[in-house]
């Protein structure tokens, strides 16, 4: 396998425990963009502590799926329950879910008019009502964790892509989320910077965070995921534990996909 980002380090699995508690329950979920049926009858149950990698060709609906989990996209049929809260049109529920679920975007989406520190303290101060001093201490703690505390007073435009993505992860963590969603976090990065972001994500997984990652980093999937979901044409085609998924894919579609992304 010629994955340039194959994870070579030893993974500490002592905290990676999947509990019986259900974190996210998606039942018979359907979504349309106009007349286009993007998500078709999706059923996923995520238990607390699971690390799930979602992959598939572009346009398969994988980003849309995780964006439905914090209601950046609205689903039209079926049921999504996050942390025991069902996502409906009730704005209060949506805000509650969003403050419990962290999200990292492909293009980082840091706030360019605020410093790194302000990016990290904004939501805790205004949503969680944490005092400013305390929020800053928490922010510095997480910035140290992603290894860029020295950039705290710079603006996002002065940082490299990899650094910005790590800040974005720290910003999400400052809300002390119970679930983290990653929407192609490394797709917009230079090859040299992908590793630093993946390392941060691996550390997060080692601490037992419940994670859903849309990514094409198969090395990451093999190292830390406990389940891989393969999607095509808005539906889940195959899901399995990583070793089986990569070595023994069942459906032809999966085989084709894997041969294409791993073949080069």
């Amino acid at each position: 396998m010629s994955d340039p980002h194959a994870v070579t380090r030893e993974i500490d699995r002592s905290h990676m425990q999947v509990s019986d508690e259900v974190a996210i329950q998606i039942t018979n979920m359907n979504k349309w963009y106009g007349a286009f049926h993007v998500l078709r009858d999706v059923n996923v149950t995520v238990n607390r502590g699971e690390r799930i990698v979602i992959c598939g060709p572009s346009g398969s609906g994988k980003s849309t799926l995780i964006r439905c989990i914090n209601r950046l996209e609205e689903h039209q049929q079926g049921k999504i329950v996050v942390d025991g809260i069902e996502l409906t049109n009730d704005l209060k529920n949506i805000d509650k879910v969003r403050s419990e679920v962290g999200m990292v975007f492909q293009h980082f989406n840091l706030f360019p008019h605020l410093t790194i520190l302000e990016n990290c303290t904004l939501a805790p101060i205004w949503v969680r009502k944490v005092p400013k001093k305390e929020a800053e201490a928490t922010a510095m703690h997480f910035l140290e964790k992603v290894k860029i505390p020295e950039q705290a007073n710079k603006y996002p435009g002065q940082l490299s892509g990899g650094q910005q993505q790590r800040v974005a992860i720290a910003r999400s963590l400052c809300m002390k989320p119970r679930i983290m969603l990653f929407d192609e976090p490394t797709s917009a990065l230079d090859p040299e910077m992908i590793k630093e972001v993946l390392d941060t994500m691996i550390e997060l997984a080692e601490e037992g965070m419940t994670m859903l990652c849309v990514t094409h980093e198969m090395g990451f999937a093999q190292a830390v995921a406990n389940r891989v979901i393969f999607m095509d044409q808005g539906q889940i085609v195959e899901q399995n534990e990583p070793k089986e998924f990569f070595n023994n894919p069942q459906s032809d579609r999966t085989k084709l996909f894997l041969s294409q992304i791993l073949g080069h």
Binding site: L72, L91, S99, G102, H107, N109, L110, V127, M175
Partner: protein, 491 residues
């Protein structure tokens, strides 16, 4: 090394090059001239023609300008002085008209012994604007503050009024107290910005002080209602409740309370100033009053309209779109005519709604519609990711707007907003059509109608134009300063 072919494939760098300074620019005036003015025969010709044009304009205009007379009592006297000094054929400007009619240009027919009031309002305006315009304290601000304080003292002494000094002392005391309590710049002066709106109204129009005080209290009442209601039923309903509470206050409580308080204090000095009618306003006092009130109200109104136009709620969106398109589609003069003539038909009989107030409302609505569209452009320029990131962090709509979206959208819109402001300020001269004495036509015509200044033509227009230019250019410079300050990349 010599056997290394130019096209040989292998190259290994032994050591990395350290960064070095860029080559010093070849400088010198001659090089600059050659590159910029005489780089070819076309450019050389254009340069020569340009110089010739400048020369002829100066040859015509400069003597006229320099022969100007500042001390004279009539145009005829001006001409005599010019003829005596520069010869019979000489032309010259008669700046004496500006000097002689200065007060009229500045104050219109505002009562002469009350000039200290608009001047004080202008000086305090600078104080009220400082915390809005400058977020960092600097030595320049201290110096400006000192100059303003001295001018206020001078105003007190020369008009024999203690109110300017009283306001100054009160202002310094409250700000100092706030400072000692740990409230820092600019918040420790921001309270005055709020108070200033009522204070300026009182200084300009006079009458009882309780009317503006009670009117400002309406905002406090609305705010309190908003805070309580929004905690209970959400922001939008809360905002509605706040607005209703404020309107109820103004409609039912304000008038009675103001009358009662006025009855208690009577017409004693600090609570009562001699009233000045709106038709005594004129010149730059009028232009500034309308311009500044319009600018101050149209910005927040434009923001709300822009947000409304992008709203998901069909009714809100329809109202905002309808308002913006209607106001933008109608000439300002039409709105001014509506203000001066039609509004009287619709208002209940007996209500005397001040003409300047009506004009301010119309000018504000007009400018708000334009600003709304400028800000909508700024909003549209923001990447969707900014909204999504704000949503994903759990910020609600208003917090996301206030903390994430608006700071960026307004920054993008600065050039357009300032253009609108400049346009608004210049449009204040249009009030001449509703019989108000604007500085450009109203006052100038009045001056030229006087027998001693009949025939003076260029000088008043140049003077008024110059003042407009100074004000508008300052706004533009401030906008550039602000844009620079808010620049975030590569700092």
């Amino acid at each position: 090394m010599s056997d290394l072919h130019a096209n040989s494939a292998l190259f290994v760098r032994k050591e990395m090059l350290p960064p070095s300074d860029p080559p010093a620019l070849e400088s010198g005036a001659i090089k600059w001239l050659r590159e910029n003015l005489f780089s070819g025969w076309l450019n050389s010709t254009l340069t020569v023609l340009g110089l010739a044009a400048i020369f002829f304009v100066l040859k015509l205009g400069l003597p006229w300008f320099l022969h100007g007379v500042w001390n004279a009592n009539s145009l005829g006297e001006c001409r005599e002085i010019i003829a005596a000094t520069w010869g019979e054929d000489a032309h010259g400007a008669c700046w004496a008209v500006i000097r002689e009619r200065w007060n009229q240009f500045m104050f219109g027919f505002y009562p002469r012994e009350l000039y200290w009031r608009p001047v004080l309002a202008l000086l305090l305006l600078m104080v009220a604007l400082a915390p809005v315009l400058f977020s960092e304290k600097s030595n320049k601000l201290w110096i400006a503050g000192g100059v303003i304080a001295v001018l206020i003292l001078w105003l007190s002494v020369s008009y024999g009024q203690w109110i300017p000094v009283g306001i100054l002392v009160l202002l310094a005391a409250i700000t100092g107290y706030l400072g000692s309590r740990g409230v820092h710049w600019p918040v420790n002066l921001l309270w005055f910005t709020g108070v200033y709106t009522g204070l300026a109204f009182w200084l300009l129009w006079g009458g009882t002080i309780w009317l503006p005080v009670v009117a400002l209290l309406g905002f406090v009442v609305g705010w309190i209602a908003f805070r309580f209601a929004s905690n209970a039923v959400g922001t939008i309903v809360g905002a509605g409740a706040g607005a209703i509470a404020a309107i109820l206050w103004w409609y039912f409580a304000a008038g009675a309370l103001s009358d009662t308080l006025t009855g208690l204090t009577g017409r004693t000095q600090p609570f009562w100033l001699r009233g000045v009618d709106s038709d005594e306003f004129g010149g730059f006092v009028l232009a500034f009053t309308i311009g500044i009130a319009g600018i101050a109200i149209s910005l927040p109104m434009g923001i709300i309209l822009a947000l409304g136009r992008r709203s998901d709620m069909p009714l809100v969106k329809a109202i905002c779109v309808g308002f913006i398109e209607f106001i933008r589609g109608v000439p300002l003069i039409t709105l001014l005519f509506v203000a001066s003539l039609l509004l009287n038909y619709f208002l209940p009989p007996g209500t005397n709604f001040d003409i300047i107030l009506r004009v301010i409302i119309m000018v504000t609505l007009f400018s708000a519609a334009y600003i709304a569209e400028v800000i909508r452009g700024g909003l549209a320029a923001l990447p969707r990711g900014q909204y999504e990131a704000a949503d994903a962090l759990g910020l609600d709509y208003w917090k996301a707007q206030r903390l994430i979206i608006m700071p960026q959208a307004l920054k993008i819109s600065i050039p357009g907003i300032v253009s609108s402001f400049i346009g608004l300020f210049k449009d204040t001269t249009l009030v001449v059509f509703v019989a108000l004495l604007d500085p450009l036509k109203g006052i100038t015509d009045a001056v030229r109608a006087a027998i001693e200044w009949k025939g003076v033509y260029w000088e008043p227009y140049i003077f008024v134009g110059a003042i407009f230019f100074i004000v508008c250019f300052s706004m533009s410079r401030y906008a550039m300063y602000l844009e620079n300050k808010l620049k975030r990349e590569h700092r």
